[in-house]
Amino acid sequence: MASVAPTFYTNQVQVTDEVANFSPEVVEEMYLHLTKYPPDRKRSALIPLLFVIQRERGYVDNEGVNFLARFLDLEVTDIWETVTFYSMFNLRPVGKHHIQICKTLSCRIIGEPKITEHICNRLGIHVGETTDDEKFTVSLVECLGSCGTAPMMQIGFDYHEDLTTEKVDKLLDSLS
């Protein structure tokens, strides 16, 4: 038989069995989400709970996934298939402020490229990158439903609309 010699290993997350710890308040919040769904449909709570994990841990990390797998009686791969489908979940760490600029048509024709360029130049990074101080990550995202107030961006969950370069400067100044 031919030798079994893997040539590449990719997509490999360092998988551990460590399980994240959460404060009782957070766990209670998680149980609250569970109450919304029938008892035999716990998996429904997966997406809301992943947001809790992301909020608490900064991103959807291995320990958090292990926690959820136990919490919801799922395999980690079941969580993986769901979590990778949705664009709002980060499987890798992002900056403290995740700047998500809407790039879809209405924003684009009103001036998104200028805003993006301005932000990137100011932070000295490209789209998809994080600043060295791990404060800012810049992403371009698809339509955020703020077309009437274009151009716009979302930092974390906060909407910032009718952007101008001056407004952006002020905003970035205010973020620590």
Binding site: M1, A2, S3, V4, A5, P6, T7, F8, Y9, T10, N11, Q12, V13, Q14, V15, D17, N62, V65, E75, V76, T77, D78, I79, W80, E81, T84, F85, Y86, S87
Partner: protein, 771 residues
């Protein structure tokens, strides 16, 4: 499915089809070829590849024929310019990001994508952009993955879930970035390799066969699995005297198992060409001396002289992994050559109580799939009879069958069960007694089950219609098996057919039982004989430790490897493996299926039945086989009622297996057995401690198998690897490239490592492979 017929017009021709039939199946049955990737019979519908588009009148768009059930008066067109354009388009889309590296792809030559494109694709390539690239990788030591080639038919994720119940492989990411994989990129599962089998492209590939040969260079030989009692049909791919791979692809073999195989059947073939195979006959001229290579003539002569000295004190033991021909020839040797009644099977479990008390016929796997009620008492089919487990799973999932499990351990199949009676450890015999004798209420406390659970079970059975299948195996004592086999008939009614399904461990357990009718028990044979002829090694550990073998005057072993048994042998004769012989196995549904020679016997090995008949001839009895397996089979068929009239030509089509009908015994007086059971129950402690926790996937599948008692054949997968200990001990114990075990239980991994290195030194590997 009702048998009501309706009319469907396909391409202008009218057909009467069963109501509720799936359009794609109907079209294909009527020879209107329809391409598809994601459609796979008896798996969840996907309708994602969009290849099977047809035009149905009164429907606005082209429809996927895999999702359409036929309705009366439906008018279907499967060939038109519009449909061809759509099919060409889908092919073009699939090829857009598919690397055209067929010359270096292991699937080249047996790739469904290649074939579909050849038949339905376009000549011109319009895609001039660069293709999305993803590096190839390994999902496990035996599953290689090239994500670029993936067309996302998701057959792999579905077989993993629906066949194996493991759900280990899933799709991740979105859109054009979708990939098949797992969290962390490593496949933790039983490594059955079914995902490789059903993959239509070269996305999931056999890591052990990687870049070995092209498929068309292989000789494909249809044969039968040598591990599990399900008798799965497989195709041995061999070239130049080497077995390169084993597959069940439907282009090569169309057996009862479809494309299903398990890890042992698929990957456990490394032993065939293993360097440790016994190369020549070996003689130990002096007790305690060494085994010295010799010639066949010398060895046969030596054996004959010694056996003549022992006269009818020669005992014969056959392993249930041998072919029917070999086992039957060993029995003939005992009866006709040495005139001894001392013949037996080396298996711990005796199927005689089951078959002697059979009150209903055996179920076939197809009947299991379409059963309405299944009662499983003990056993762990998902680990030992994997194909039976798959049929149960699909019966529940796709056929709406009710599964009832009575077990002391919450095995994985309990997830599918509509009722799980969790009994106390080792109380399955007591349950059998309670099941047979409903009047005795005192048993229940020992079992740890409530009366209501038994009532529910009986109610469920009482209300069931259609096929009701009872299956049980080695977890029950001989008496319990006898009782259950005999009471099964009581449940039959006009609306309900009862069938039995035994769960023996070995590939030819049932055949061995049939061949060795009238046998004595293993210990009787070992005690009552002074010399032994053993076909295959003994697996019963006590036989070795009790020192039976060391006290014998003379022992001949027909074996492939040096084993714990051959350490006691005076003569070792090199036997051929299943891949090197012609013969038959009888599976747990009574199917007699062919084993075919794929490669010439290695070195000087010979088939077991040839070896035995050579000794017989030297001793003056010619079995009349003339070195012909068909002749050997004819003799056995003519002397065993259930096999009467069978000849090899009857067995040639693996898609139409022949079931031997085991005689149905009427109701028997089994008071002796029930008394024995009752005594056993009375002796049982009042234990309340139940086993909790579902056993891990593969915990038995990956154990050293007992084809021989010493050389763990499954582990020989590692053969050919420069550093086997570091990379692949078994699929369960996966090692990283740096040599560190990936499995959490380092102890388990370490002991597995010990097994490999110590396997030659340690005598007495147990049935379960524990040292």
């Amino acid at each position: 499915m009702s048998t009501e017929l309706i009319k469907v017009t396909i391409n202008g021709q009218e057909f009467a089809v069963e109501k509720g039939a799936r359009l794609i199946d109907v079209c294909r049955e009527q020879a209107f070829n329809i391409p598809s990737f994601c459609y796979y019979q008896d798996l969840a519908l996907q309708a994602s590849c969009r290849m099977c588009l047809v035009r149905i009148e009164k429907m606005p768009k082209l429809q996927t024929s895999c999702t359409i059930t036929c309705t009366d008066g439906m008018i279907v067109t499967t060939q038109s310019a519009e449909i061809e354009k759509a099919q060409r388009a889908m092919g073009e889309f699939l090829l857009a990001n598919h690397p055209l590296d067929c010359p270096v792809c292991d699937r080249g030559g047996e790739c469904e994508l290649q074939e579909m494109i050849f038949d339905w694709g376009d000549v011109e390539e319009r895609f001039v952009e660069s293709k999305n690239a993803t590096p190839e990788k390994f999902l496990s030591p035996i599953v290689a993955n090239d994500p670029q080639r993936c067309i996302l038919c998701k057959r792999c994720t579905r077989v993993c879930d629906e066949w194996m119940g493991e759900d280990a492989i899933e799709a991740g990411n979105r859109g054009v970035n979708t990939v098949i994989g797992t969290y962390g990129g490593w496949l933790d599962c039983s490594q059955c390799g079914n995902c490789i089998e059903v993959c239509p492209t070269g996305t999931l590939l056999d890591g052990t066969y990687r870049h070995e040969t092209r498929p068309w260079e292989l000789d494909q030989t249809i044969s039968t699995d040598t591990y599990s009692s399900d008798g799965m049909q497989l195709s041995i791919g061999s070239r130049g005297g080497r077995v390169h791979r084993i597959v069940a692809r439907d282009r090569y073999v169309d057996g009862l198992n479809g494309e299903f195989l398990d890890v042992k059947a698929r990957f456990g073939h490394g032993f065939v060409n293993h360097e440790e195979r016994i190369k020549t006959p070996l003689i130990r001229y002096k007790k305690g001396g060494k085994l010295i290579p010799t010639t066949w003539d010398e060895a046969i002569h030596f054996v004959t002289n010694k056996f003549k000295e022992s006269g009818n004190n020669v005992g014969v033991v056959a392993s249930p992994r041998l072919t029917n021909e070999s086992i039957f020839t060993l029995k003939r040797f005992a009866k006709e050559v040495v005139g001894s009644e001392n013949y037996t099977i080396s298996d711990v479990e005796d199927l005689a109580p089951f078959f002697n008390n059979l009150s209903v016929p055996l179920a076939t796997h197809k009947e299991i799939r379409h059963a309405k009620t299944i009662l499983l008492i003990g056993g762990e089919p998902e680990e030992e009879q994997t194909f039976t487990a798959k049929q149960i799973r699909q019966a529940v999932r796709n056929g709406g069958a009710k599964l009832i499990i009575v077990h002391d351990t919450p095995i994985r199949l309990t997830a599918q069960a509509s009722q799980f009676i969790h009994v106390n450890p080792k109380s399955l015999d007591a349950f059998a007694l309670a099941f047979a004798d409903k009047s005795d209420k005192t048993i229940l406390s020992k079992i740890g089950a409530a009366q209501s659970e038994i009532d529910d079970l009986l109610k469920l059975i009482g209300e069931s219609e259609g096929d009701f299948i009872i299956m049980f195996g080695r977890d029950l004592s001989a008496e319990a098996q006898a009782v259950l086999a005999n009471v099964a008939g009581n449940f039959a009614s006009e609306k309900r057919r009862v069938l039995l399904h035994p769960l023996p461990l070995y590939n030819n357990s049932v055949g061995a039982n049939d061949m060795m009718a009238g046998r004595k028990s293993l210990s009787d044979v070992l005690i009552n004989s002074t010399a032994l002829l053993i076909g295959g090694s003994l697996s019963k550990p006590s036989a070795l430790t009790d020192g039976f073998l060391s006290r014998k005057d003379f022992i001949v072993v027909q074996e492939m490897f040096e084993t714990a048994t051959t350490e006691f042998a005076d003569v070792v004769l090199p036997a051929a493996s299943f891949a090197e012989t012609d013969g038959t196995f009888t599976n747990n549904t009574g199917f007699v299926q062919r084993v075919r020679q794929a490669v010439e016997p290695v070195h000087q090995a010979k088939a077991d039945w040839i070896i035995t008949s050579m000794i017989a001839r030297e001793m003056g009895v010619d079995f009349g086989y003339n070195f012909s397996a068909p002749a050997a089979f004819r003799t056995l068929a003519d002397s065993i009622d259930a096999y009467a009239g069978l000849r090899y030509p009857h067995l040639k089509d693996e898609s139409k297996p022949v079931q031997v009908k085991h005689p149905i015994a009427g109701k028997k007086d089994l008071s002796k057995e029930t008394d024995a059971l009752r005594r056993g129950v009375e002796a049982m402690p009042e234990t309340n401690e139940k086993i909790i926790g579902t056993p891990k996937v593969g915990h038995k599948l990956h154990r050293l198998t007992t084809m021989t008692s010493k050389t763990a054949q499954f582990h020989l997968l590692a053969h050919g690897n420069p550093k086997p200990e570091n990379l692949l001990v078994s699929p369960l114990v996966q090692f990283n490239l740096d040599g560190t075990p990936r499995v959490e239980e380092k102890a388990e991994a370490a002991s597995a490592g010990d097994r490999i290195s110590d396997v030659k030194r340690t005598a007495g590997v147990t049935l379960d492979g524990k040292v």
